[in-house]
């Protein structure tokens, strides 16, 4: 049976949205001139309602909201992807090590994993990004370093399951070392799980990025969807009923995060067959 046929329609829709979002993020910086996004050089009036010239209106400085949303896609996707890779990378490493090697190391790692699993990741991420200098690297670190434990638990469980199978026992009996067992048997069986986890982690990382940016902890030199909403809150878009400034960045977050979630769930359904 072709495994891809199991990919649900919702998953395909999600994948299509992601392709469009990625194209927008890559092409936008080439088409938008820096002048249009420079607060000191824009000429349009602030708080304009959507019209023929600015079809999503303008923000508090007179910049076009449509251009800002398009430009913000890059930052949000970049942070989401890199933070997810960092988080899943740490989680996979910790999971395999604590699953493969028993004894004191595994015990200690498990203890630390459970500790961080319980702590509210956002609170830790806030504390980290407050003490570190503002910037893209800080946000990626803050999200990646606080969201790995669930991956670690899952990968550890998978490692334990695989290592209990007869073919791993056979490999060991034939003299296969740690490197061989991990590289040839554990890793291949963990990869599908890691893939699913990365996709879902991108979704939560994008939400986390927008939250940190909303709280004013983002990179002040870059436009992101969360940073736009931070500006909207600071300059009173709500009391002014400036829906054109509030809706587009939020909807962009929801659509992209939902797309990653749908793709992740579809992948999950393919990877873990129904009982």
């Amino acid at each position: 049976m072709n495994r891809l046929t199991g990919f649900s329609r919702a998953g395909m829709a999600g994948a299509a949205i992601l392709v469009v979002a990625a194209l927008v993020a890559l092409i936008a910086p080439l088409l938008i001139s820096a002048d249009a996004l420079d607060v000191t050089r824009v000429t349009a009036a602030p708080w304009q309602t959507p019209g023929a010239q600015h079809w999503l209106g303008t923000d508090h400085t007179g910049r076009s909201v449509a251009l800002l949303v398009v430009q913000g896609a890059g930052t949000s996707l970049f942070v989401g992807l890199t933070a997810a890779v960092l988080s899943v990378g740490i989680g996979t490493l910790v999971g395999i090590v604590s699953g493969h090697f028993g004894g004191l190391v595994a015990g200690a790692l498990l203890r630390v994993t459970d500790f961080f699993l319980v702590l509210p990741a956002l609170v830790l991420a806030i504390a980290l990004s407050t003490v570190l200098p503002r910037g893209l690297g800080t946000i990626v670190l803050a999200i990646g370093l606080t969201s790995w434990p669930s991956t670690a638990r899952m990968v550890r469980a998978q490692t334990l399951t695989i290592e209990a199978r007869p073919f791993v026992e056979r490999a060991r009996a034939l003299g296969g070392g740690h490197g061989h067992v991990i590289g040839r048997h554990v890793l291949p069986s963990v990869v599908p799980l890691v893939l699913v986890n990365t996709t879902l982690a991108v979704a939560s990382s994008i939400v986390a990025e927008s939250t940190l940016a909303f709280l004013g902890l983002g990179d002040p030199t870059r436009i992101s969807w969360g940073a736009m909403l931070h500006q909207a809150q600071l300059h009173g878009a709500v009391p002014q009923r400036a829906w054109w400034f509030l809706l587009p960045p939020g909807l962009a977050i929801v659509v992209v995060v939902l797309a990653f979630t749908l793709v992740g769930r579809a992948l999950e359904a393919v990877v873990t067959p129904k009982r």
């Binding site: 407050t130 809150q233 939902l258």
Partner: protein, 316 residues
């Protein structure tokens, strides 16, 4: 034995929280006093006082020891922005947060479990599809954005800032009504986001039980469909779901921070925002230790509660 192990584990976690709180604010690149006082008029004497409070002039292990012993005494240092003891500032803000988080959690758990059960029981029905779809979408919605939207859509229908008006009559009934009025939008925001998670958790928990042999027996006995659900399937499926609700308490904490920030609800979440905009490291450290400690305690409770509710898991 298991009880002792759980208590010991929680105690170790609490010590780890304290250690984390200490090192997180000591690995700051550069001088924490300089970054805290940036943009504020400060005298050399004030800076020296702050340095002494951080203990920057002493070796690290002495700093840690004095931090740890004062923590055990309930002393979290002095807030730089409020110029009062951190423990005092935090204690003041506890009430409003408990009110908001408590209300939202009760509603979200009730609604989430109910919707989750309905959706799972009629799997792939229109109701199931709609519930799952809405939950997944709400899961993707940033809490703060939902709050801002609600505020804009409802306009003047509900107050959107703070917890009470200054001109409300001082008697209990009008005060309670006023607080309730202010509570509407923040709790809807928090419920919407947290509830989505509970629906999905409850749904998958019940789906796990759907083909269990004991349900076949119950049906074979001739029980009506909703009796099978109420008396047999749900009691078994609700336990893991309830445990997960406690385990995801961190999620509620995170939601409270952004919700309180959007609605200026005078609780711990807004205090978090004040502390990070300062930045006020002592306040932030205190908040981190207190919230993380609370989450550790909640988890211990979940564990113990699970043992009480489910005879198969014996605690003692």
């Amino acid at each position: 034995m298991r009880l002792a192990g759980r208590l010991g584990g929680a105690a170790v976690s609490l010590v780890m929280v304290a250690v984390l709180g200490f090192f997180l604010f000591r690995v700051v690149p550069g001088d924490p006093v300089v970054s805290m006082t940036r943009g504020r008029p400060t005298t050399a004497a004030m800076q020296a006082e702050l340095r002494a409070q951080f203990g920057l002039d002493r070796p690290l292990h002495e700093q840690f020891w004095s931090y740890f012993t004062s923590l055990l005494r309930g002393d979290l240092g002095t807030s730089f922005t409020f110029r009062r003891p951190v423990a005092e500032v935090i204690a003041e803000r506890l009430g409003p947060t408990l009110l908001l988080v408590g209300t939202a959690t009760v509603i979200a758990v009730g609604l989430g479990l109910w919707l989750g059960v309905r959706a799972a029981w009629r799997r792939d029905s229109a109701f199931d599809r709609a519930t799952t779809g809405v939950s997944l979408t709400l899961w993707a919605v940033p809490t703060f954005w939902l709050g801002m939207l609600l505020m804009m859509v409802t306009g003047d229908l509900f107050p959107s800032r703070g917890m009470r008006d200054t001109d409300t009559a001082p008697d209990f009934v009008s005060q309670a009504l006023d607080v309730g009025h202010h509570l509407v939008l923040p709790s809807i925001t928090l419920v919407a986001v947290v509830c989505a998670e509970y629906v999905l958790v409850m749904r998958s928990s019940l789906l796990e039980e759907m083909h269990a042999p004991y349900l076949v027996t119950a049906r074979a006995k001739g029980l009506r469909d909703d009796l099978v659900r109420r008396r047999h399937a749900v009691p078994n499926a609700v336990l893991p779901a309830i445990t997960l609700v406690f385990l995801r308490f961190g999620l509620v904490v995170a939601g409270a921070i952004t919700t309180e920030t959007v609605f200026s609800w005078p609780g711990l979440g807004l205090l978090f925002y004040d502390a990070l905009t300062g930045p006020d490291y002592f306040l932030l450290q205190g908040l981190l230790v207190v919230t993380a400690g609370a989450v550790v305690v909640m988890n211990l409770l979940a564990d113990l509660l699970h043992g009480v509710l489910d005879p198969r898991v014996k605690v003692v």
